[in-house]
């Protein structure tokens, strides 16, 4: 036993030293690192981009790291503290704003000032998602916002001729399509403020325009939440809407017994794979009443601590340039926020996949009616202060008046912190 152990230890020590003694990068190579959010399925594509980039810029090396949701933050924050944050990073939703507020991202405004053509590439409304305190911090990588999917056969069976045009109709239609436990009328995603259109269409605001005070503790809001809670109680809104994240709500819609799903465009690809009922004839696509939508886009930014700012900016421009962006758009069937590229993607899809074309077209319509995307540097904290209270109401655990008062208290406290 001793001998085996000694052998093991020697072998281990040998490998350890061989790895420790790995040759350092050759002098003269400039290296940047690129961190993406959960896009490992496009491994080939991104490695292709990196090869292309490296071939046209000799002496340059790009290191690609991909992390998914819950691991992203520990990884990034640790790197931040250690001073080795990846040079170019891709974030989802409001996380980019939080990093900007933290001081982790480089201000892109001066770079845009010098290269107005680059700024002009991007859809201004989506680009505006990452403006914090008047400065640009990120550019779009790929963009999405919420829309309303609906199950046409279920609508027909309930005698409904078309999608709802108001909040009251949403609830009424949902009720018509509900049958005990087996089917529900309405479902929504709830993370990252995706449910906010339901409130905005009733005129409920989260905060005042200056983002300094709460604005949601109103009788109207109480009424809206009450109605939503009642609808959840009788299953016209399936309670997975408030308890699920991604798999459960989309999966439920894919199973074919939910009338309406309020989600952003990637959901289509997910539930299509789950539900054999999904065809261009049976799936309806439209905007929510009032054309309100919450965006949930991916942005690209540069870390302030980068040692190669020009190279990082170069790479960022490269990825969002026509060649690369159009590849991303056509491979993954999404919109990249690069206006010209998206036009081309849509034109192609109109021929190849009309259903996806219809869905993605909605993403570019009514982009002035985007809500649920306040420029908050402490978005997560506000969310954490607000959502659990509201979830309790929707699931019938707490009454709306108390919950909103509690949420008011907690959000105010978070707003008051520096």
């Amino acid at each position: 036993m001793i001998i085996r152990r000694t052998l093991l230890k020697t072998a281990a020590a040998a490998s350890a030293t061989s790895i420790i003694g790995m040759p350092a990068i050759a002098q003269g190579t400039k290296k940047i690192s690129f961190l993406t959010w959960n896009i490992i399925d496009q491994k080939e594509l991104i490695e292709g981009w990196i090869k292309r980039f490296q071939s046209t810029r000799p002496g340059v090396e790009v290191e690609w790291l991909d992390k998914k949701g819950p691991e992203f933050s520990p990884f990034y924050q640790t790197q931040l503290v250690a001073g080795t944050a990846p040079d170019v990073i891709n974030t989802q939703g409001a996380l980019g704003l939080e990093y900007a507020a933290q001081g982790a991202l480089m201000d892109l405004t001066p770079l845009f000032a010098k290269e107005a053509a680059v700024k002009g590439r991007y859809d201004p409304n989506y680009l505006g998602n990452w403006v914090y305190e008047g400065k640009n911090y990120m550019v779009p990588f790929y963009i999405t916002k919420t829309l309303l999917f609906y199950n046409k056969p279920m609508f027909a069976k309930a005698g409904l001729s078309g999608p709802p045009k108001s909040f009251d109709e949403i609830l009424a239609f949902a009720e018509k399509m509900t049958a005990g436990d087996t089917s529900s009328g309405f479902m929504t995603l709830n993370f990252d403020w995706l449910y906010w259109p339901l409130l905005k269409m009733n005129g409920v605001e989260l905060l005042t325009a200056d983002l300094k005070k709460t604005a949601f503790n109103t009788p109207k809001a109480i009424e809206v939440f009450d109605r939503l809670a009642k609808a959840t109680a009788n299953n016209s809104i399936n309670k997975i809407a408030w308890t699920g994240r991604w798999v459960e709500p989309n999966g439920a819609f894919g199973a074919g017994n939910i009338g309406m799903l309020h989600a952003h465009s990637p959901a289509y690809f997910f539930f299509k794979g789950q539900g054999s009922w999904v065809t261009p004839e049976t799936l309806g696509v439209t905007h929510m009443p009032g054309n309100w939508a919450t965006p949930n886009s991916h942005g690209l930014g540069i870390s302030k601590s980068t040692k190669q700012p020009e190279l990082a900016w170069d790479f960022l421009k490269f990825i969002t340039d026509t060649g690369q962006a159009s590849e991303l758009g056509s491979r993954r069937k999404l919109l990249t926020g690069n206006v010209a590229v998206d036009k081309g993607t849509l034109a192609q899809l109109q021929k190849d996949d009309p259903m996806v074309h219809t869905i993605l077209s909605t993403q570019l319509e009514h982009t002035d009616k985007m809500t649920g995307n306040w420029r908050l540097g402490n978005d997560s904290r506000i969310k954490e202060a607000f959502w659990p209270e509201v979830q309790s109401v929707l699931l019938g655990r707490k009454d709306a008046k108390t919950a909103l008062a509690d949420a008011d208290r907690r959000v105010t406290r978070e707003l008051g912190r520096s």
């Binding site: 420790i20 691991e71 991604w246 997910f270």
Partner: protein
């Protein structure tokens, strides 16, 4: 003196109880494997109790999608370092704790408290320390935080304390050094403790997920669970593939357990403990 009849029924009862327990413990596994070998929609109701059109594609796919052999090698090396370090260091520490010395209670309290610090709370300082030591992205750095574990120290301590003092005193009278006492007297009588150390340390180092995530930058230095999780990320448990991989990561730990667990059969030669 129990009669043959009640002895037999007692035996039968034991078997029955164990079988019920075994069944309950296995149900989740059966369910997982069943899903891993089919591609049905796992959320459909009512669920199928038996697999429909079983196939092994999920298990095969992974071989092509990630550098499986390299990740496997990485995991083996890191776990080997961790297990070796643990058996040696923990035995030493466990032995030291059986001796009376000034400040023993303090050390005991220190060790016990060290256990109570969750890994998540140590992420940032642990990373910075490992960086300072120059061990980022290395096998040794991957294994370092796990080179000694407190639970296993206590396992050794308990095992060593179970050895009758008379034996130890006899050995000392014979002039054996402390090292020899550990190696010749205590360890052979603590085989279950060594086995426990090996099994537990292997499992913990094999399954360790967050630490490799944080300190490996080079994709080729990733360990197997990390590599698999990276692969799973965009599939979000819609098909059996996820469950196939959960089972695959489990296999080596079970193998180690099977190899080591024969130490848990009471040695027929328990004569050494007598008199």
């Amino acid at each position: 003196m129990a009669s043959k009849g009640t002895q037999a029924s007692w035996l039968g009862l034991r078997h029955l109880t164990l079988m019920v327990i075994a069944f309950l413990m296995l149900v989740p596994f059966y369910w997982v494997i069943k899903t891993a070998i089919t591609n049905e929609n796992i959320y459909a109701y009512p669920p199928n109790l038996l697999p429909q059109n079983p196939h092994l594609f999920n298990f095969v796919d992974v071989w092509y999608l990630i550098p499986f052999p390299r990740y496997l090698l990485n995991s083996i090396i890191v776990s080997a370092i961790a297990v070796a370090g643990n058996v040696v260091f923990n035995a030493m520490a466990g032995y030291a704790l059986t001796r009376q010395f000034a400040g023993r209670n303090v050390v005991l309290a220190l060790f016990l408290s060290c256990m109570l610090i969750p890994f998540q709370a140590t992420i940032i300082p642990a990373y910075l320390i490992t960086a300072k030591l120059g061990l980022l992205n290395t096998y040794f750095g991957l294994a370092l935080p796990m080179l000694s574990t407190i639970i296993c120290i206590f396992v050794f301590k308990a095992a060593f304390e179970a050895v009758p003092r008379s034996l130890i005193d006899a050995a000392r009278l014979d002039g054996l050094s402390e090292w020899r006492i550990i190696m010749r007297v205590l360890m052979p009588l603590s085989k279950p403790a060594v086995a426990t150390n090996v099994i537990l340390t292997f499992i913990w180092s094999w399954n360790n997920f967050l630490w490799p995530l944080l300190i490996t930058r080079d994709p080729l230095m990733q360990t197997l669970p990390l590599g698999l999780a990276r692969f799973l990320s965009y599939m979000e448990d819609t098909t059996g593939a996820l469950y196939a991989f959960a089972v695959m990561v489990l296999a080596p730990s079970i193998l180690v357990f099977l190899m080591a667990q024969k130490e848990f059969i009471r040695g027929l030669t328990s004569g050494a403990t007598k008199g």
